[in-house]
Amino acid sequence: MTTTPTQTPPPTTVPEVLKKARRRGVGRSDRGAALGFLAPNLLGFACFTILPIGASLVLSFFEWPLIGEATFTGLENFITLFTADPVFWQVVGNTFYFVGVYVLLNLIVSLSLALWLTSKVRWKGFLRFVFFLPVVSPIVANAVVWRLLYNQDDGLIAWFFQTFTGTSGPNWLGSSEWAMPAVIIMSVWAGFGYNMIIFIAGIEGIPKTLYEAAEIDGAGWWRRLVSVTLPMLTPSIFFATVMTVISSLQVFAQPFILTGGGPGSSTTTLVFYLYQQGFQGYEMGYASSIAWSLFLLIMVITFIQFRSQKRWVHYS
């Protein structure tokens, strides 16, 4: 009589199979190996991602000057930020202004050029290179040139206005009304190439049979665009929108170089304000509470976008 199957195995075959299986790693944990492979990254990840995230949250509950005593103040930083700091809400407004206009213009330009570059034009490779170059060129260098182009009296843009409208046009970087549009235009120029590549890949992935079917139905260029290309492209458009919103909520270098956040605080964005509070005022606790507000904002906006995608994104 046998109580367990292992006591009376068919003499040779089962251990053979087990041995083989074990050697192939079937049903066995690779814990030792996994630990070895994971260790370098996990160690760094713990020290330089997980730890700072935790520390940042803790900091935001303290009054923490870089030099001097730290005092626990609970929610004081957040209460001050939301109720008693007039600059904060202006900065949030500036950031929304930037994100709203920038994302819209970026998507329009990148989508148009992607459609254009997938139509019958020549020198596609060269054109793609040109439109993509500002994306990889250092953002500081980009912003510095635009500072020259925007120069009030003698810049190239002012000359352009002078020639075609007779006036030298807006005082781009010097007026609180036009500084933000100037920052946005420069940013669109520097950023649209990335989404353009995403859209080109999306358009090239649309099955040709759909266009053939549409053509048989007598669909013209416009009809094919509206009924085939755009609906099939909605997953890419959704992805590009989410990513562009997240990255543009963190805009910093463009206003830093172009306007220094001014005039006044008309182009001071959330991250710029964080920089001022944390690294010019050395209020580390207060800066952390701004960082966490930004994070919460990103979470909420991304969540809303994912909730709304059912209404317009088509997954085939």
Partner: protein, 291 residues
């Protein structure tokens, strides 16, 4: 039957065809105009870099000054230690890229091709941090760097951003697409995990590794906010930071500033020309994430 027979016969020039031919020419011309407009800032950068300083704001503006001043490049190069900025940038981006690619590939291997308890939970923790903006990390990171005495050092520029979840995530997705049979055959021949990783998985993953390397390199090279916070010593500055210092010191010497900008754009332009394939693939892949 050959494919030639499917080709449409030569049609006479109807008004519709003439219209579409004209449309094609117009479209070609317009997109070239768009390309030139996109290039204007770069053209102006180089043009100004080669002008005598008195002609930077000539009216009407001209593309070429009365003389070509190559000397501007030498002056810009010597005004601040620009060679040093480039070297710093190469060291930081080069070492950073090696660390990111090596550690991400190893971690991705553990997350995709090894079985162990808690794997998916740990991976979820990695994924969760992808959404956290860099700005949440910089304040405590700055304090940490001060405590470690790393301010104004290469390690402060490299290490904090060498272990993010992005690379691990990207490579894991790629490793998952490789069939199991490849490794099993090697393991039956007695190869251990490390041999199998370095001899089989890595060679097959060159496109993904290349994509991650190019993006990481450009990320380090162009990074501005973090170097601005952690480096005040001019000898430790990277190129964007050096350009910012240049802006602060030269004020309105635009021809020198543009020469410096041109120098800083060149490496990026070369990378796009040489490695466009990796960049485009990487972006297309990440864009497919939406599908």
């Amino acid at each position: 039957m050959t494919t030639h027979q499917f080709r449409a016969p030569r049609r006479p020039m109807t008004p519709e065809r003439a219209k579409s031919a004209i449309g094609g020419v117009v479209s070609q011309v317009l997109i070239l105009v768009a390309a030139v407009i996109t290039l204007i800032p770069f053209i102006w950068m180089v043009s100004t870099a080669l002008k005598p300083s008195s002609e930077v704001f000539s009216n009407p503006p001209s593309l070429v000054g009365s003389s070509i001043e190559w000397q501007n490049f030498a002056d810009a190069w010597n005004y601040l230690p620009f060679g040093r900025f480039m070297l710093n940038g190469l060291i930081v981006a080069g070492i950073g890229t090696v660390i990111v690619v090596a550690t991400s590939a190893m971690a991705a291997y553990a997350f995709s091709r090894l079985r162990w308890k808690g794997r998916d939970g740990t991976f979820l923790l990695y994924l969760g941090t992808l959404m956290i903006p860099q700005e949440v990390l910089i304040v405590p990171m700055f304090i940490l760097m001060r405590e470690l005495g790393w301010v104004n050092s290469y390690q402060a520029l490299i290490v904090p951003w060498a272990f993010t979840a992005f690379g691990t995530f990207l490579l894991r997705q790629f490793f998952l697409t490789l069939p199991d049979e490849l490794e099993e055959a090697a393991r039956l021949d007695g190869a251990n995990r490390w041999t199998s990783f370095t001899r089989i998985i890595l060679p097959l993953s060159k496109p993904a590794l290349g994509t991650l390397a190019v993006f990481t390199f450009i990320g380090y090279w162009n990074s501005f906010l973090w170097p601005l916070l952690i480096v005040s010593d001019v000898n430790m500055a990277t190129v964007p930071l050096g350009l910012n210092m240049f802006l602060g010191q030269t004020g309105n010497q635009w021809n020198l500033l543009m020469a410096a900008s041109t120098i800083s754009v060149l490496p990026s332009a070369i990378i796009v020309i040489l490695l466009q394939k990796y960049l485009v693939n990487g972006i297309a892949l990440s864009g497919m994430g939406g599908r």
